[in-house]
């Protein structure tokens, strides 16, 4: 899809319609406002079973024996299933099958499920789960990345199809000559940054149910971020064809990357029960199960060495990244790829060497979460930039202006940024919005005040060898437009934004468009609802489908209006000849006439980025189609006695391409920053030898309303020629710089560099006490 395509088809960026850039209220607002049963756990089923898992008692070892006899005879129990009951393959996984559906022999983590119990009531299932007996043999486990990389470390997956030792993936970037670059530098800084386990902590605990159909197929219902992927992954386990699995997605009550894996786990295990018992099977996670059992944001250790000349010009970067993946691949290879690509930040540098290691351990499994690893590396690079500015006594904005990406810059993967680079504009606009340093307004309040800034770049689209998406558009005979696309409305507002794009492109009223509920029996494969792709990639596919529909309707309208088909225009539900707009007919009339002459008014769209390249040995390639850019500035106040940090204000300037729905964009930025604030200051899933010690929202705290800073949110629109009406991604990038912006502000306030997250009151108080700052 090219800029020319959009200009010819729908007019250029200056010829915006009324719907592009409009704050349309969410289409799903009213039912969510009164608590209507939109979520999976709200549904009522006839004669269902409740599924409860029995997990492994040890993090590493072998399962010698399982005894389910007593559980099976407990009241209300319909079945107790173990690995021997799996009709198909015993291993599963999104990229490679390396994860047991139910433990067969080897145990890899405490979260592994050994058996599943299904009973008439939840209480009976829980009771019976306690009666499952097992005998296991413990083997030496390894939980930390540095231990897993030792020569004599126990091997987590001795028979893994891909891993070498405990290294699942090792990616490299080799650009220029780093030794030469560091030799040219006047200042060289080296630090190691560590981030923690984080939970998505969406308000809706993971849920779902599976209903067996009379023809032997099954229907899975529940929240997901990847309906077609669920089908693809569980089909071989259940011994079904992918066409025998229907997945209907209910709107997730938050996803943030976490409802990829869990939707697979739930559909797979409830599916085993439904196939065995021929009864509907409900499998809702408790909060404890969601926080204590499901995969987390991957913790990263980033060793970052940066060199620069006296004038601030960066000469070299040497980066080592270690990710504690847990025992399974899942989407891990995608995480390490995305992370290493972004690891040198939004800065030009001729000499970049980076090594990224995805390391298997017996720790809790990890998965995608908002930003897919990129926030972790931005914590490193943007902390380094802050330190560099301090040691060069340079303004942090100036340092970033000097080195930051501009049109024509070449990235660490040697991709030339040939369009839509808004970093400089974001720096200017954020700086202008700042106002006086918070220390100037302190008025002797006894608090330590600080300001910190961080920039970012972040890709739009999936971290895969290509990013593709299908869409279909059908015009019903009453002139309404029905759009089928496999993108999930998980709160980010995609179904409102995609309806805006579809209505504008079709030339009908917003209220005449409906985005269909996502159902694999009805909508095409559209890839993951992830990677900040849910406006750009599906928007393109929808526009392509609409171009086909217009191609069907235009000749019919041309005959009705007695003009040439190529001059037909569609706008606001009216159809007319461009040169004579005063004489128009309604969209519905054209549809009726088209049906009368035997047309099928349907369009198929398939958008693909084409090959997205990344050489794992050198890093060379064009790994993404386009990037978003931005800057965040945090003002913090620190209590010198308690070490508590309060974020008082956040200024955020984000280049998002054309903002289709500015209110939605601002909502994404504010929500992302709040989540980043949690990771910077509050949140940590405390894991001891693979066991989560914080499995509830009292011990795993997330930001509350009282933590909310004052926001100044600035949208920068550097139009993207490869996106619908110029749009790029925004959903994840909002928290990419937040960790470093807050950390840099704390550095400014207390004079101590924190290299480990979260920055707890204890660590701040300790730093102040040790004399980091004069109070």
């Amino acid at each position: 899809m090219s800029e020319r395509f959009y200009q010819e088809m729908f007019g250029g960026p200056d010829d915006d319609g009324d719907l592009i850039g409009a704050d349309m209220p969410r289409v799903d607002g009213p039912p969510k406002a009164d608590g209507s049963p939109v979520f999976a756990a709200d549904h009522k089923l006839v004669n269902p079973l409740y599924v409860v898992p029995v997990t492994a008692p040890i993090p590493c070892g072998t399962l010698e024996r399982v005894d389910t006899a007593e559980a099976e005879t407990a009241p209300g129990v319909a079945c107790v299933l173990t690995a021997k009951d799996i009709p198909g393959q015993k291993l599963y996984g999104m990229l490679m099958p390396d994860q047991p559906a139910l433990v067969d022999k080897r145990i890899y983590s405490l979260q592994d499920v050994v058996a599943i119990v299904a009973a008439d009531t939840l209480e009976q299932a829980e009771f019976a789960a306690g009666l499952v007996k097992m005998k296991t043999k413990a083997l030496p486990a390894v939980f930390e990345t540095q231990d897993a990389l030792k020569d004599d470390a126990p091997i987590v997956q001795p028979e893994h199809p891909v891993a070498k030792g405990n290294v699942l993936t090792h990616l490299k970037i080799r650009k220029g000559d780093v030794e030469k670059g560091f030799a040219e530098a006047d200042v060289v800084l080296e630090n190691t940054y560590e981030t923690q386990f984080i939970d998505h902590a969406y308000l809706e605990p993971d849920a779902g149910y599976v209903v067996p159909n009379p023809d032997g197929s099954i229907t899975c219902t529940g929240p997901t971020q990847c309906p077609h992927m669920v089908r693809r992954v569980i089909a071989p386990v259940l011994g079904l064809g992918q066409n025998e699995i229907q997945f209907i997605s209910t709107p997730p009550g938050g996803g943030f990357g976490g409802k990829e894996e869990t939707s697979i786990e739930i559909a797979m295990r409830a599916g085993l029960v439904a196939l065995k018992t021929r009864r509907p099977a409900i499998y809702n996670y408790t909060r404890e199960e969601s926080l204590g059992g499901k995969a987390k944001r991957v913790p990263a250790v980033v060793q970052h060495k940066i060199g620069a000349k006296k004038n601030g010009k960066i000469t070299a970067m040497r980066i080592h990244i270690y990710l504690n993946k847990g025992p399974y691949a899942a989407v891990g290879p995608g995480i390490i790829k995305k992370l290493i690509i972004h690891s040198s930040g939004a800065y030009e540098c001729d000499n970049v060497w980076a090594d990224g290691y995805l390391v298997l351990t017996n720790n809790i499994n990890t998965c995608a979460m908002r930003g897919l690893g990129v926030p972790q590396v931005h914590f490193a690079i943007e902390s380094q930039m802050d330190e560099l500015a301090l040691s060069l006594e340079m303004d942090p904005f100036e340092l970033r202006r000097l080195n930051g990406y501009k049109l024509g810059s070449s990235t660490a993967t040697r991709q030339v940024l040939d369009q839509s680079v808004g970093y400089m504009d974001c720096l200017d606009k954020a700086e202008k919005a700042l106002g006086p340093h918070p220390r100037e307004n302190a008025n002797g309040d006894g608090l330590l005040h600080g300001r910190g800034m961080a920039g970012f770049w972040y890709s739009t689209g999936a971290a895969s060898p290509s990013d593709s998406c299908g869409a279909q558009v059908h015009v019903t005979d009453d002139g309404k437009v029905q759009v089928g696309v496999g993108i999930i409305e998980l709160g980010q507002g995609s179904h409102t934004v995609l309806a805006q794009i579809a209505a504008e492109a079709m030339g009908v009223r917003f209220e005449d468009v409906r985005i269909m509920q996502v159902d694999t029996d009805a909508v095409p494969e559209s890839g993951f609802t992830a990677g900040s792709r849910s406006t750009t990639i599906p928007g393109n596919a929808i526009c392509e489908a609409i171009a086909e529909v217009r191609g069907i309707l235009a000749p019919v309208a041309a005959e009705m209006l007695e003009g040439p088909a190529e001059d037909i225009a569609f706008k606001h539900g009216r159809v007319f000849i461009k040169s004579a707009p005063e004489r128009s007919i309604s969209f519905g009339e054209v549809v009726s006439q088209a049906l009368l002459v035997g047309e099928q008014i349907t369009g198929q769209g398939w958008f693909t980025t084409g090959p997205l390249t990344f050489n794992p040995e050198t890093g060379e390639g064009r790994p993404f189609m386009v990037y978003s850019y931005g800057v965040q500035v945090a003002d913090v106040a620190v209590d010198p006695d308690t070490g508590e940090v309060w974020v008082k204000r956040m200024v955020a300037a984000h280049d998002v391409g054309r903002a289709i729905n500015p209110q939605g964009v601002i909502g994404q930025i504010q929500g992302g920053i709040e989540m980043g604030l949690g990771q910077a200051l509050i949140e940590e899933i405390d894991v001891h030898e693979g066991r989560v010690l914080t499995p509830d929202l009292a011990r795993y705290e997330i930001p509350v309303s009282m933590d909310t800073p004052e926001f100044t949110t600035i949208i920068v629109e550097e139009v993207n020629a490869t996106g619908p009406y110029g749009a790029k991604g925004v959903g994840e990038s909002s928290l990419v710089p937040t960790l470093a912006a807050i950390s840099n502000a704390v550095r400014d306030a207390v004079g101590h560099r924190f290299t480990k997250l979260p920055i707890t009151p204890e660590s701040v108080a300790m730093a102040i006490h040790k004399g980091g700052v004069a109070v």
Binding site: D34, F39, F256, Q670
Partner: protein
């Protein structure tokens, strides 16, 4: 989640586990959104489970531990977490859920402002958040922004960063108090 422990005993057939005793059910009567409701439930059933089993699924289950506020209801006009009460404690009481405040066909100004201001994203916290806002505005008709923040401090939201929720409640307070003013 049930953590089974590795059995070291050489168990031979006979069970040492406690027998499953079906819980005794108690009759409970109360009102929900002005409608009388009669139910039977075991003594240990929480009000959250009781309400959801009766079809009041607008009361969302987010944590079952009083941490998240998704199940906030009004009990005799005061906000509380339904998961922190037993069903039997509702006997003779008046419960208001979000649907008692307004429905899709007849939205309350708080709900309208939530929609207009973009205060709803995934929507899971929304019903509880709106009930908490209703109590706040009943007790404090013209709250400051700080009072609004404090009023919803027991309700977690993971999507919005709370700003638009605070904006919406502020706007609803304005509208509600100007309506009252006109009536006088």
């Amino acid at each position: 989640m049930k953590m089974a422990t590795a059995s070291k005993s050489k168990r031979t057939g006979k069970s040492s586990a406690p027998a499953y005793v079906p819980p005794k059910k108690l009759p409970i009567s109360f009102t929900v959104n002005g409608q009388e409701v009669s139910a039977e439930a075991p003594a240990h059933t929480t009000l959250l489970y009781l309400l959801r089993d009766l079809g009041f699924t607008e009361v969302k289950n987010g944590c079952e531990a009083g941490d998240c506020g998704a199940c906030t209801i009004l009990l005799d006009g005061l906000a509380m977490n339904a998961c922190c009460a037993l069903g039997v404690q509702a006997e003779g009481r008046e419960i208001t859920t979000v649907k008692g405040i307004g429905t899709v066909d007849n939205l309350h100004p708080i709900q309208q402002k939530f929609i207009e201001h973009g205060a709803i994203q995934c929507g899971f916290c929304t019903p509880g958040m709106i009930v908490a806002a209703k109590e706040l505005l009943d007790l404090t008709p013209n709250p400051s922004r700080h009072e609004i923040k404090a009023g919803i401090a027991g309700n977690l939201c993971r999507c919005t960063g709370y700003v638009k929720i605070i904006d919406a409640i502020e706007a609803a307070a304005e509208e509600l108090s100007s309506k009252k003013g006109k009536r006088k």
